[in-house]
């Protein structure tokens, strides 16, 4: 199978050259955990940097980044619904005790799509088709739900449960009001975060593609549902004709497997994407994936069916990229989370997390006003009266009316006010706006998958040799310095140039071991875009050759202009242009 070979080749290269490998190798490895080596850690940093540029820096007028902890108290994930819903079906062998993810087992054995089936349905399928333990052939028990949150205890008290976050999103929801206030109540407001998350997968078996711990880069983008175009007008106008490749849920139901092209304007107008900002971020995501080196035709958005969606989502698109071994895999998810999360946190925390909508013109509205017999209040509660009045003013009048109806008495600030001391009047007042719960769209990326995809698309073979054609700006090593031979004079000059480029901030490497051809090959395989070779001519006229990883062609550049020439080349100039511009 040629397709499988590519995956194996990429992984072999990744391990050998230090992009990634399974964690805890010396202890036999632990499934679902991967380490990034020297090249992988830098590649990841550059991918994250690119994401930051596309999603945050170019949208600084609207999007800010925050950082919140991995560990959260249980209450947060009770509110978010994860304690209840973030589960996978699990089944245990009654004989050997091994545990399996039940839907995957059923899919493997019966060749059907079992996503979204209930534990009862899965148990029934297992019984009906006589599915047994793949390891020992023993009978399988009842399918149950297994919660994927990693659980721990915060502090020395045992009841104090904490969970590791499975997404960074709840950090943004919990912080929404604070960030909204800090940003001086501007809407719309995007809150981004790039951070570690953990999902306790039952038995992950897809290497870097399904990890128990990984990095998410995501934005919770808060907007006014009654004004969903706010802040988007200019950007939409600029890009309205650009196409997004989408495979709709209704088309999938009909058996369609290929996406259609919709312009941004059409996707919004026809409500193919439920809300405009979601469509816009999908377009940005499409650009971003191409910047990693994935051709346009190898990525599209697949709308999830209702049974495939997460519990919080009104509409979800997975952005898919074609990879060798697994076909189309998800690299990002785009969910319309509506006001689900903020509403839940309002309920669970008792805090007001609403934003304020200014009316274009102030409006006159009828409003109930609560009046308390102040003379009585002062006599009865004396020094406490002021506090009672203050607290009363912060309570919604409708709540007061309800309380009086139900209890016949008003309880405020720890005191009681009988019904006959309270008067309710209705008054016409002028109001400038109203409070509302913002809606949210969420573009969310799995960074380690992006890293794998980037590597696979960069992997090429030229004349029988592996060349890792990483986009220049993503290359972990930007330039390598090579003395042509081991001649001491060449080595000395090459090391000077190497140290000089290091001081100038380049990601630079140096190699003097082996033939020059072998060293070029090693650099090509590590994806180094530029090689600088110090040869005998260097000692005469202080020029070096600059070699292009992809074409293997070279130009000569004076050392005095080398840094400049390199910057230009790394920013995308062709070798010819660099040669022409900097050769003298």
């Amino acid at each position: 199978m040629a397709a499988q070979d590519l995956y194996e080749k990429v992984v072999e290269l990744a391990v050998r050259r230090g992009f990634f490998w399974q964690s805890y190798e010396i202890y036999g490895g632990v499934a679902g955990f991967y380490d990034l080596g020297p090249l992988g850690a830098r590649l990841k940093q550059k991918i994250v940097g690119l994401w930051r540029e596309y999603f945050i820096k170019r949208h600084q007028d609207l999007v800010v980044e925050i950082e919140t902890p991995v560990i959260a108290p249980a209450r947060v994930f009770e509110a978010s619904g994860h304690v209840e819903h973030f589960t996978d079906p699990i089944v245990e062998c009654m004989k050997c005790g091994r545990k399996y993810r039940a839907d995957h087992l059923v899919e493997d054995k019966l060749g059907i799509n079992a996503e979204g089936l209930s534990p009862e349905e899965l148990t029934k399928l297992i019984r009906e088709h006589g599915v047994t333990c793949p390891a020992c052939g023993g009978p399988l028990g009842e399918v149950k739900l297994f919660n994927l949150l990693f659980k721990t205890t915060i502090g020395p008290y045992e009841g104090n449960i904490g969970y590791l976050r499975p997404e960074t999103a709840q950090g943004m929801f919990v912080d929404f009001k604070r960030v909204y206030t800090v940003m001086r109540r501007r809407m719309p407001l995007g809150i981004a975060q790039i951070g570690r998350v953990a999902r306790n997968e039952i038995s992950p078996r897809q290497g870097m593609m399904r990890l128990r711990e990984f990095t998410i880069a995501e934005i919770e983008f808060f907007f006014d549902p009654e004004n969903p175009m706010q802040g988007l007008e200019e950007r939409l106008a600029e890009r309205s004709r650009e196409k997004i490749a989408i495979l709709r849920a209704e088309d999938r139901r009909r058996g369609e497997e290929k996406p259609s092209q919709y312009s941004l304007e059409e996707a919004v107008r026809e409500k193919i994407v439920a809300t405009p900002w979601m469509a816009y971020w999908m377009l940005v995501a499409q650009d971003f994936i191409q910047a990693l080196g994935v051709p346009r035709q190898n990525t599209f958005f697949e709308e999830k069916l209702p049974e495939e969606k997460a519990h919080y989502s009104a509409q979800t698109f997975d952005q898919l990229v074609k990879v060798s071994r697994w076909g189309w895999v998800e690299v990002s998810g785009h969910s319309y989370r509506t006001d689900y999360d903020l509403s839940r946190h309002m309920k669970y925390s008792g805090q007001d997390l609403r934003a304020f909508r200014q009316y274009p013109e102030p409006r006159k509205v009828k409003k109930k006003i609560i009046l308390v017999d102040k003379a009585w209040l002062g006599r009865t509660y004396r020094s406490k009266a002021a506090e009672v009045l203050r607290e009363l003013s912060s309570i919604d009048p409708e709540t007061v009316v309800k309380m009086l109806q139900e209890k016949g008495v008003l309880r405020v600030a720890g005191v009681e006010i009988p019904k006959d001391k309270v008067t309710i009047v209705e008054k016409e007042v002028t109001v400038g706006g109203e409070y509302y719960i913002p809606h949210v769209v969420e573009p969310s990326f799995g960074v380690e998958r992006l890293l794998y995809v980037t590597l696979e698309y960069a992997y090429t073979v030229k004349e029988g040799r592996t060349v890792l054609r990483l986009p220049r700006r993503l290359a972990p090593i930007e330039v390598i310095v090579l003395p042509l031979t081991a001649d001491e004079k060449l080595v000395r000059r090459a090391r000077e140039i190497y140290m000089d480029l290091m001081k100038k901030g380049f990601d630079v490497s140096y190699d003097e071991a082996g033939s020059i051809g072998r060293r070029y090959a090693r650099a090509d395989e590590a994806g180094v875009p530029a090689a600088v070779t110090v040869d005998y001519q260097t000692l005469e006229d202080d020029t070096v050759t600059l070699r292009d990883r992809d074409t293997w062609r070279q130009v000569r550049v004076p050392c005095s202009r080398l840094a400049e020439a390199l910057r230009s080349f790394l920013n995308g100039a062709s070798l010819d242009d660099v040669g022409a511009k900097y050769s003298t």
Copy 2:
């Protein structure tokens, strides 16, 4: 207390402007967890970027960065000694059940230094001095040890314990052999990591200074203990006369509280610092802390007393910085971990994690050679004979000798070879080198503390207004664009300039609300080094004013050269120089 006031002012500013705040505020907060807001997250990124520059990028010839998971299987922290040693003393009130960190409680109540005392000693002090529960006055129980590792379960099997790492270091130790191989066995080898760690503190009460989850930036620097100067010669020569401020353990014992100045050369020669690379990294750390804005005299290295050191350390220095509320606090630790960690992982994993030391000249050594009667072996074990020979060749001959002496028989690859079929000959062979366990020095920084320290040192008051004098290259917002008034023409031009600077990659903000004076004040308080003001002259000659946060002085710059002028200013040029160079 004026000193306390500064801390409170910094925290008040940090919360109000969005540098940091306590996590899970809407749920009442959880001690030991802090969020970074929009300004804090960027400041942290820039501090991390600066650290990367000082410790990694300037040492690319020796130091690489990796990334490993937060969650590790129990075995890793059994090997590292953390399961046994990473504890704090805890005591519980027998009446109300509250739990306290026993040494801190004793220190608070008795005013003595209780660091390093055993649970028995602490219990004795509590009994002798009648220390009771600070909350309810109830009697206290026995002091016990509480392990600070956050515990969880990996996967669906309950016995599969995992811990959250309390330091990133074990990732580098576990990966040492892999990285050493990937880097083509170069020594010395620094492996750096910047990542989240978690420590389940008993009752953290110092805000950002003592967190249960935070970011560490650290290097495990592996070197040959028989050649401890390797790779350091040039750098040492360049910097040998530079001074490091150190307070030695022996001087602390004598009651000394002030550091002395030692040149790098002296620190190494006199073994004030146990090994040369540790001294070098301390010098780099000293530079780095100054680059955050801490004056030279406000940081020094305090050598830890034996009872204060971690279990793995032969010598430790804490780098201290003076802060308002807590006096001298640790911002980095410098430990000589020797071969402790690698030896432990070799023992626990059964893997060979040694490096290879090439002899300057090949040496002739006497070596025992194991010869097996091959004819007998082939007859007896047939197809298995080859495997037996292969395995035999990988066993240390001394082990074979010992096994034969003790058991009279050799067990290899599951078969037995009687003594009389084995001959041991001694031969002189030429060897090129030998294996050894590298030693390690570790510079380790707590990033959130660095962030707090940076803020506190930036906090100044000028003419009654707060000015956050962050080093320009660390400023979360580099430049703010302001229309002089709300005049539509000025606003339009200002927004154009704003979007243009955004496209050019600046961290830029925009503000049109309120008087220009108030907006300058807001920007100064957020540490924005440069303000660009669009006024009526802008509409005439397309120039803007560029204002310096620290001096409040302004120069005029043409819009066409604004980006260039800003880059120069942000890179450290004075406003006068920028004005002179770019004014036309």
